[in-house]
Every structure is written in C-alpha cells, then in structure tokens.
Amino acid sequence: MLADNINLAFKNIKERKTRVFLTLLGIAIGIMAIVSLMSIGEGMQQAVVGELSSLSDTIIVTTGDISVSSMGGGFSGGNNYFSQRDIEDIQRIDGIKSVDPVLFSSGVVEYNGESQYVSLLGLDSERMTEIFGIEFLGLETGEFMDEGDQNKCIIGHNVAYEYFDVSVYLGSKIKLNGQSLVVSGIYKQQGAGMSVPTDDYAHLTTRDFKKITGQENMTGIMIKVYDIDNAEQIALECENIINDNHGDDDYANSITMSSILESVQQIIGIIQSVLVGIAAIALVVASIGIMNTMLTSVMERTHEIGVMKAIGARNSDVMIVFIMEGVMISLIGGGIGVILGILGAKAFSSVSSSGFMGSPMPIYPVITIFSILISLVIAMIVGVMSSIYPARKAAKMSPIEAVRYE
C-alpha cells in the first residue's frame, strides 16, 4: 500500500514538474540554510574552542577591562598598575607554573620623518607565543624576539601599513621615544579578535619597555597554572592578594581562559540559534509554499478524488496520497537543500580561510551526519505538517460532488 502511495504521489509530481520544482526550491533553500548555518556554527565552535582549550590553564589578571567576544576574549591596560610586590606575592601561590607581567603604555614612534602615537605592549615574546598560541598572534613576517634580544620590536599591522605615509618593513629602523629600534617582525592583521589587539601596538621585551618608557606600568599579569581545575580558585586568590596590597576591593579583575571559553561557547550558542532561527523562517515560508501547492493540487484533482472514493478509497487512503505527495516534495527539496548546504558551507570555508571579515582564524564548517539527518527529518516534518490540511480537505470531499467536479 505504501509503495502504491509513493508510486501515485510520484506520478502526480511528474505531471506538475514546474510547480513542484518551484515549491521544492523553497524547501531546498530553507534546508540549505539550516545545513550550511549549522555546519558553520559548528565550525566556529570547534575553531574557537579548539584554540582556547589549549590555553585553558591561563589566568589573566588586569586592572583594566576584560572583554569576551564571540571570537575570543581579551583585555586592555587600565589606569592602575600592579607592583613588583603583587607579582612576587602571586608567585608564592601554590600550583602556579609561571607569572608574566604585561606592560601597557604609549609612546611616540618616528619613522621617515613622521611621528605617531603608538600603544606599547611589553611582554617577553617567548612567553607570548606560549601564552597565546602562535595561531592567534601569528607574524606576517619576521620572527619573535629571543630572550636577551635588545632594541628590537614587533609592530602591529596598522602601525606598519597605515600609520605612516611610507610603509614600515621588516628590518626598518624606527625611533621610539627617541630610542632606535629595529623592526624584527610584523603581526598579522588581527581584526576584532582574541586577547591583545596587536594591530595598533608596538611590542617590546619587558626590559626594552622599561628602558624606553621609564615606566613599569604593569596593567596585566598572565598566569599559568598546573591544574586547570584549580584555575578559578587561584584566579580569585590572586585578585584578593592584589586588592589587599592596594587596599582597594576593586583594584584587579581576573578571568580564567576556561571561563572565557564558557562565555564564548554561550555566545556561539546564541549565534547558532539565531542562524538556525533565520533558517527556520525560511522553512516556514517554504511550508506555506507546499501547503499552497498541495491545496491547488487538491482543487485540481477534485474529480480524481471523487473517482478514488467511488471505487472504494477510504478517507484515510485519500489523505495518505496527498500527505505522501507533500512529503515527497519536501524530501526531494530537502535532499537538494542538503547538497546545496554542503556546497554553501564549502564555499564559505574557502572565503573564510582567505581572511573573511578580518576573522582572526579560518572557520572550517563541520558537516555532521547528524545535521544532515536532522535536516531531512525537519524537511519530512515540514512536508507532513503542510500537507495535513490540504489532505484533510481532500479526504472530506463528498464523493458525488467530487466526481461531478470537472
């Protein structure tokens, strides 16, 4: 019986190819949106979580703001500074692997006869790669400074290419507060991204930073712990110690990478639901399309329905014929949508890997069997839901009136 219904539905679909094609295009677009958006969302999740997980033993303590965005978290220098005593006190806490001060200030860079204010970051660079992971703060050119290197700096993308009329190149000499430095590297463009926004910074070793600025403006401390489970507790402890040292309950803010990870996951979750929500709207529109097509089909086939009833079809037989037709339209549309969705996701991945929207990391959409299955199930549900009303209408027709209908 099922095979008969499928056969009948298939024949009816074949009779109305153009209309069915247009209808299934609607559902195909909806499903395409679901598949591609789900896979991009999943890809985003894996990209961010993958990168952040490797940093989950890190605690950031700062006197400034701590922010979390969908692409990561970060902090900036505040107006208060940490003291050497803070660093030493923190180093005494059990379970801490390393403590690195991060210095923020600003200075005047002279190059090619022009002067510009530039933000300065002091952080020993071998620690930098370890703390942030090279993926995030990768260099466009050059290399990170070695321990003991002097009078070298790495500059951000904007500093190199936007600040001065003539671009700064690797090996160029610049003057920072009157002190000559060699540009040993240029950061990749970061955009709005994870951690320190390096685009507008000049990065020095802590020793050069202190020497040039004459300041020890420690506004951030990067701490690594041995045991990630203790990270939250150690972060609080650090905050308390510093607050006690300065007699201010709100002197320091701390955040662990794992809590950033959680927040990021939440944000990605919201983004994913918004994306899927948009796709759902497309599907609702598509289901109205199916319903419309099926209603037209029921009307056109009133006579046929009458004939089927006259030769003994039950109401349920008639209903199944039409529901089957709706399901077939939506499943064919869903299948096409899945294929288009996979292609769309692949297209997105090739765009994003070439630096889409200044994304700090390429997003590779992840297409799972689950997302394909769920899309097809959704397509089927949409098919059933949107053909129930037309099918009921067909089933309830009086046989004699339907048979007379021409």
């Binding site: 019986m1 008969d4 024949k11 009779e15 004939v307 006259a310 003994g312 039950r314 109401n315």
Partner: protein
C-alpha cells in the same frame, strides 16, 4: 427486510436545496432488485435516473427512505463503511470512464484492489486477467489518453470488476463511445450478468434497454413503469 435481494429501496427520496429552490429529484422510490438481474433504467434527461444510480452506488445519501444492499441498510452507514460497500459490493462504471489520467490501464485496475489491501502479486494477476477479459491485454501499459473511448470504458469495466463485486452499476456506459464500441461494451456487461452478477445500466438508448431483462422507467423522480422485457 426482504432477503435474497441484491438491492431494495423503500420510500426513497432525494431532495436538493431548501425552500423556494427545493428540487425533488426522487420521490418515494420502491424497488426490489434480485441477485443476477439485468436491469435497464431509462428516462429522459433530468428525470432522476442518475441520482438514483448515485444513491444505489453509495456515492450519495438519500434525504429520506432506505436503501439496502445485500441486506445492509446503507442509509445508516458512516463514510468509511460506505467506502467499504463501494469497494466490496459495487462496481461503478461512469459515462466519462473516470480513469485516473496519470496511471496506466493496468494501474487503474490495480488501484481499486490496492484500496482493498489485496497483495501486489494477486493484484497483478487479477488486473491482467480482467484486462484480458475485456480484450485489452495488449494495451495494459497505456495511459487513458492513449486509448480510444471504447477502450477506456473497457478499462473502467475491468476496474469495476476488480474487487469482485456482486453488483455492477453502469451510468450511460456507451454514452461517449461509438456504436461498434458500444456494442462491445454491452456484450461484456451481458457476459458479466451471465456469470451471475447483478447489472444495472442507466441509458436513454432504447436499443441498449432492450438487452436488459427488466426495464425501469423513471419520470420526474418517480418510477413510472417497469416491465419484463
């Protein structure tokens, strides 16, 4: 209830509309049709013969009165039970054949059996046998649009016989068919009757009516005469 009758009607009325627009299509029709009868219902157009046929075929319900088909009072049945009577007891042949245009001759015959949940193998065998019986074994894969009027009507006869009903109702079966084709159709109906089935044919063609054992004349919704041929 009178036993041994294929169809019995008692005080059968069918009224369309209400008030000023009321039209009485059938009035107090009492008829007994025995098993194995071959009956022609004649009358001018608009006399109510098609209405009567639709009531007998359980396609329509009477305004009042009773119709019993093989001792079942169908005027009291719900939609699904009526569908079962149409499926099991009655084979309906329409003037305009009413085959499903998307299905082949074979599939049209088979469809009727699929509603009766006959399995695929039995269905195929029977559909082939029936199409062979009406002389269309060479046309089983053709769609209605590829068949002549007479051929389509023969497919419709095969379909009407698909579920082995005891009553065949034919509403102007030769109305859209040329005389040669019409004769062939009437021969087949006669054959069916000779095999013991009750056949009721609505017609306005006296030559066709002559072939029946009984002729019932309907005029203005009432049975005005019936006579054995």
């Amino acid at each position: 209830m009178k036993d041994n009758y294929a169809i019995v009607t008692e005080e059968l009325n069918k009224i369309y509309g209400k008030g000023d627009t009321k039209v009485t299509a059938l009035e107090n029709v009492n008829i007994n049709i025995k098993h194995g009868d071959y009956i022609a219902i004649i009358g001018p157009s608009g006399s109510g013969k098609s209405t009567f046929m639709n009531l007998l075929g359980c396609l329509d319900t009477p305004t009042s009165g009773k119709i019993c088909i093989e001792n079942i009072d169908v005027s009291k049945l719900n939609e699904n039970d009526l569908a079962r009577i149409r499926r099991e007891k009655i084979g309906f042949i329409f003037q305009k054949y009413n085959l499903l245009p998307t299905l082949s001759a074979f599939e049209n015959v088979e469809l009727a059996m699929s509603f009766a949940n006959v399995n695929f193998k039995k269905r195929s065998e029977r559909a082939e046998k029936l199409l062979d019986m009406v002389g269309l074994s060479h046309r089983i894969g053709h769609k209605p649009s590829e068949l002549s009027g007479g051929e389509q009507q023969r497919v419709a006869i095969a379909r009407a016989l698909a579920n082995n009903p005891s009553i065949i109702l034919a509403d102007e079966p030769t109305g859209n068919v040329d005389s040669k084709g019409g004769n062939r159709i009437m021969d087949i109906l006669e054959d069916i009757n000779n095999k013991g089935e009750t056949v009721i044919v609505v017609t306005h063609d006296p030559n066709i009516a002559k072939r029946a054992k009984w002729v019932i004349q309907i005029r203005d919704g009432m049975v005005s005469a019936h006579a054995r041929r």
